[in-house]
Symmetry: C2
Subunit: 308 residues, 2 copies
């Protein structure tokens, strides 16, 4: 067996208006896996030493369908051993499952001599998302593999556009101790969007993409509005509107729900603002006695990678 | 009175997926106006020497509300005389009314010493669009004033993002002799969009904006799909699907309906392809005996401007 340690970052999907099509990479938070392979043999072993509770059976772990998809495409027998060393809390809304799938397939590909492109690795990692969500999305696994800001232009076929992240761009994330299942978060959404709202949304998606592509931080902030999911999903989060008002008053460019929630993210052009916002988020949930984890750091251009 | 001659270009609104939020500037086709002002006096005179049929009454001409909006903001008396010398055929779907409004306000602003920004001029010109459409859109007047590719991020307040046009980017446009009123074209649209289709659309809007911003011509082509308006509006245009197949087979990057139709545009990375596509468009409509005008040329970064 040959082994490497692989890190894949946490990610924020949707970015407000970019519902199901955009995701962004967080620096300083993610999953750390030891990945080992042996060619010629078979089998997949997954060990959990992260201290986080994960499915007892291998086949219920997102790593399994992701790695099996890769091995299926590789067409030669490979034995894979994965040890999960550090893990984002499951259900955090910052791409916990995506980070595991991304790190696992990225590591196996690296050990095999990189037979697959980054885009193919995203497709493999999507199989892990399908296991938990029923449908396979790429808005977390895309950035977890590739880094930066990722636009999923379309799924048939998968068409991923990488956008640069402006220099000096920071996030604050809060993961409150509230349980909102992906299923609940889906079911609260309307099945149809009034045409007027849809037009508003894609104007904002255009603005958001232009903001990243042109490095216009103010435009990113102005565009990060969601008229489709946020009005419904914010109901799961106590005091959401009050918190948003406070976070924007602290100088954040925008605040919105991370993925399907319950985590919330904010973006800022200043590190001190991101730190203050994270503290404000913690205080907001502490008041009604809701525990939470907070994260703050730089938005990252780096996706999955080898670490020592 | 001081006079200048002003040209404002034809434009294509929507660009497929960018329904109501995007527009693009055509080179080599537009309106030519002589604009004169006299400060201290009042009144607006509009003369039509274009040979095209236009409303008999001043107040029914789009130029009137556009210029009156500018003069209202200027707050000092100005007499304006506009002579329409050349005019895109009304109802062509390539921004005929927008070109008149844009040229008029641009010319008056120039003669007054540029008291207003380009964005304000777009707002004034939008009043002309409101006269004919009932609602004021900026997806034709935006590029007619500013040039290039324009994204209307939002309307409240008006937020216009200019995107660069890649070098070597060409259009073909056909204006068939079919009457489709803007009202008809609006009424055929569904009032609600299934969420899945809305997501598809904003993935494509993101791709289109990224394509322009990053200069990725192939991405522009892949993104220029419309699942919201084209499926309904193409019913007004005989043999639309057959034509589209042929146009793409000629090497065009994309084909779609220009604005609310009945004109159709195609984009190409090669001038010869654009020329061939325009001929194919003409032949398509000639077969069932429908006359048409065709245009082909470069996509332009230049909006309204003084000409000698």
């Amino acid at each position: 067996m040959r082994y490497i340690k692989v890190f894949a970052p946490g990610t924020v999907a949707n970015l407000g208006c970019g519902f199901d099509v955009m995701g962004l990479t967080l620096d300083g938070v993610g999953d750390l896996l030891e990945v080992g392979i042996e060619e010629g043999a078979g089998g997949l072993v997954i060990r959990n030493r992260s201290g986080k509770e994960l499915p007892a059976k291998n086949e219920d772990n997102v790593i399994t369908p992701a790695v099996m998809a890769l091995l299926g495409a590789y067409e030669k027998p490979v034995r894979v051993e994965v040890t999960i060393l550090e893990k984002i809390a499951p259900g955090s809304g910052i791409g916990s499952s995506a980070a595991s799938s991304a790190a696992a397939v990225w590591g196996v590909n690296e050990l095999l001599g990189r037979p697959f492109s980054g885009e193919r690795l995203v497709e493999f990692a999507m199989m892990g998302e399908a296991l938990i969500g029923g449908t396979s999305h790429a808005d977390n696994v895309g950035p977890a593999v590739l880094g930066g800001v990722v636009l999923i232009r379309g799924y048939e076929p998968l068409d991923i556009v990488r956008l640069p992240v402006p220099e000096g761009f920071f996030y604050a994330v809060v993961h409150p101790d509230i349980v909102v299942s992906t299923k609940q978060a889906r079911e609260v959404l309307p099945r149809e969007v009034p045409l007027h709202d849809a037009v508003t949304q894609w104007g904002n998606v255009g603005g958001l993409v232009a903001g990243f592509a042109l490095g216009d931080v103010a435009l990113i902030g102005r565009s990060m509005h969601d008229v489709v999911a946020e009005p419904y999903r914010k109901g799961f989060i106590p005091g959401y509107d009050v918190l948003k008002e406070g976070v924007l008053a602290e100088g954040a460019l925008a605040m919105n729900i991370a993925g399907s929630g319950p985590s919330i993210f904010a973006l800022a052009a200043d590190e001190a603002v991101a730190q203050r916002v994270a503290q404000r988020m913690r205080a907001h949930f502490a008041r009604p006695g809701i525990g939470c984890k907070i994260y703050a750091g730089r938005v990252s251009n780096c996706g999955a990678r080898i670490v020592e």
